[in-house]
Symmetry: none
Subunit: 204 residues, 4 copies
DNA sequence: GATGAATGAGTGTTCATTCAT
DNA sequence: TATGAATGAACACTCATTCAT
């Protein structure tokens, strides 16, 4: 039997993985991870069930890839925008990045929910690695920017790594409920309070 | 027919629910909630499967009861200890409670893991309510102690509720990884840094 | 502990069975027999679960009692109405009874559904017995009325019993779908066609 | 490892569904539909539980398929036999088909019981559709044969559809008890009475 | 590489029935 | 008589994973 030639070659080898990632992401967003079956994913990706296992060991490996991918994208955008701006003060640069990320996640609450809910501890370390991501062989992730900034600006911090850790945790855990539940107050009102506190943390 | 006398009356009516709670807790701790089946629970509790549904609608209702119960116990102990101490400074009272809770959870990392992993948002509000719990008709939960302390000590905070929210979130999210993974640094070393930051937050 | 005196003694012994029958009937009607649990019934009847088993062996025994009871009521009403009427012609008397029953069941489609759906064969014989029911020591059920009528009116039928059997089956099976589904035609339009056929059956 | 050669290849792909249908039919017959569990069916069909759900959504979908399948077979046989006969009179053709079906169901009382007991109203319409089934692009089901016969033979019926409806219901409801319970009389004795009545219905 | 039919262990849930009180 | 807590067998259904093609 002759095979029909499809106008859009949905079977091109390279695309299979991407289709799986994309469709899984959509499903994880709309139905939650637990209620998305592998069957659902392969159906939407127009791929056979067995094919899934050629690319991922299970649903949760796929999830991890997605979280990393989307986080990286988010922080890279933030850094690009920062470069275009003319902010010179170190503290304000940090605030700028945080502000950008908060705004993005406020626009995409489902992404926030997805990242937060699934940021288990195996994945957490990979996520932190995201903040180290290199472009052009140069250290340029958020993390390294932070450390470089601390030393270049003569900021006196006993332990810069721990300070960044505290800032990240404070921001993510508090903003989560403020954005999604406006509790104990809406993100818009919370931001100035939060930034004031962060500035205090970065002060000598 | 004579009835055998059991040394431990595993059938006493009142105990059924408690046995379910206790055994479920143990299992949730050791295997995680998702990998604990209701079958497991009833087996360990020496109770019929149907009996489970006499007391709880599902596994997750049971989990919520457990989280609330254990959180309450923890904070009540902290408050009792605080009363016996002679700490008068407000900030130091808050630090005392945090320190007590951190120490307890450091001793019981599984409890920490259990509470943290499962503190979903439906349950989060009930958990916060825990901090309002009354003893002797008097408002005496952590939450109310905090607000009372703020006003009595002439502490100037723009929004005390939000400050407490930030403290709670900062403490819980950072200590979690410090205790369980000693990352980015062990809890013992992290504590002084954390407390310093909290004092800053409570300063005028 | 003193027991509260209830204004309506819902516990009077004789009423328990009636309450079970009544509430079960309501539930069977609204939810169907299979989806009505004994728990449902005893809850609505304000009776303990074990009590159910003092009066009935199971759900299906209760159902049979209900079908008989309601069928009897229906035919007794029909016969009473017939007596008050001045119809002398035998065929017309039969038609009158059928018409009355059809009208009643058209008004109470749930009752029709209940009776039809559950008229299994164990119960069928008891149902037929309904048509023999005696009042005042005199044979006066539909069945006996029919046989008496046949002989008194010099109606020539090879086998009156079989003719009645055919009439009953034809009426019940066809009217069921006409009333409930107006298919293949509504009961109102079907009636004249049906009655014409029945008159033919009773003709010599 | 050499694979054992099975005498009957119980795993041939196409057969799975048939084996499920066949074994389910046997079980439905012998134990009734309600008392046949899906476990029973798959055990007898030598198929895994999950496989069942590859072919049917639930037990009742399978039942419907079975009823349709067997009804169709029955009526097709009747029509084929009719073609081979030399019966020209319309009424007698109808009687012939009825007689054939009654005889078949008398031989297979379990099939009768199965069809009758489960001919709910969702399935009823599909069953009626059976009577319309086409062979050779020509309308040749019982239903269409009936309507064609009515017009070609100048049979005067006010509403042929309703007449057929009445005949079908009368036959099925009365024969059911006559065959299975010989009540109120055995099918053999009932047939002539029934056919006489049907002829009357088809008379002008 | 790709497929998708087949698997079967596992799940949560229901509910008629029992029996000590 | 009456209770209702307790039982546990039975149920329908899911889904990650395998493997012959």
């Amino acid at each position: 039997m002759k095979k029909k030639i499809e106008l859009v070659d949905t079977n091109s080898k390279v695309d299979k993985e991407n289709r799986l990632l994309e469709e899984a992401f959509k499903l994880f967003m709309s139905k939650g991870i637990k209620d998305t079956s592998i069957q659902d994913i392969v159906n939407n990706a127009n791929v056979a069930k067995g094919t899934f296992y050629l690319y991922f060991n299970d649903k949760y490996e796929l999830r991890d890839v997605l979280i990393i991918k989307h986080s990286q994208k988010l922080f890279n955008s933030a850094l690009k925008k920062l470069e275009k701006s003319n902010i010179n003060d170190f503290s304000e640069q940090i605030i700028f990045i945080i502000d950008y990320v908060i705004d993005e996640l406020t626009k995409k609450p489902l992404l926030l929910q997805f990242i937060s809910k699934n940021l288990g501890l195996g994945i957490y370390n990979k996520f932190i690695a995201t903040l180290h991501s290199n472009i052009n062989d140069e250290k340029s992730g958020v993390y390294d920017l932070f450390l470089k900034g601390v030393s270049e600006n003569n900021i006196k911090l006993e332990n810069p790594t721990v300070t960044l850790f505290m800032i990240i945790e404070l921001v993510s855990s508090t903003c989560f409920t403020c954005i999604l539940y406006k509790d104990p107050l809406p993100i818009k009102e919370y931001k100035p309070i939060l930034y004031k506190e962060i500035r205090k943390m970065l002060e000598f």
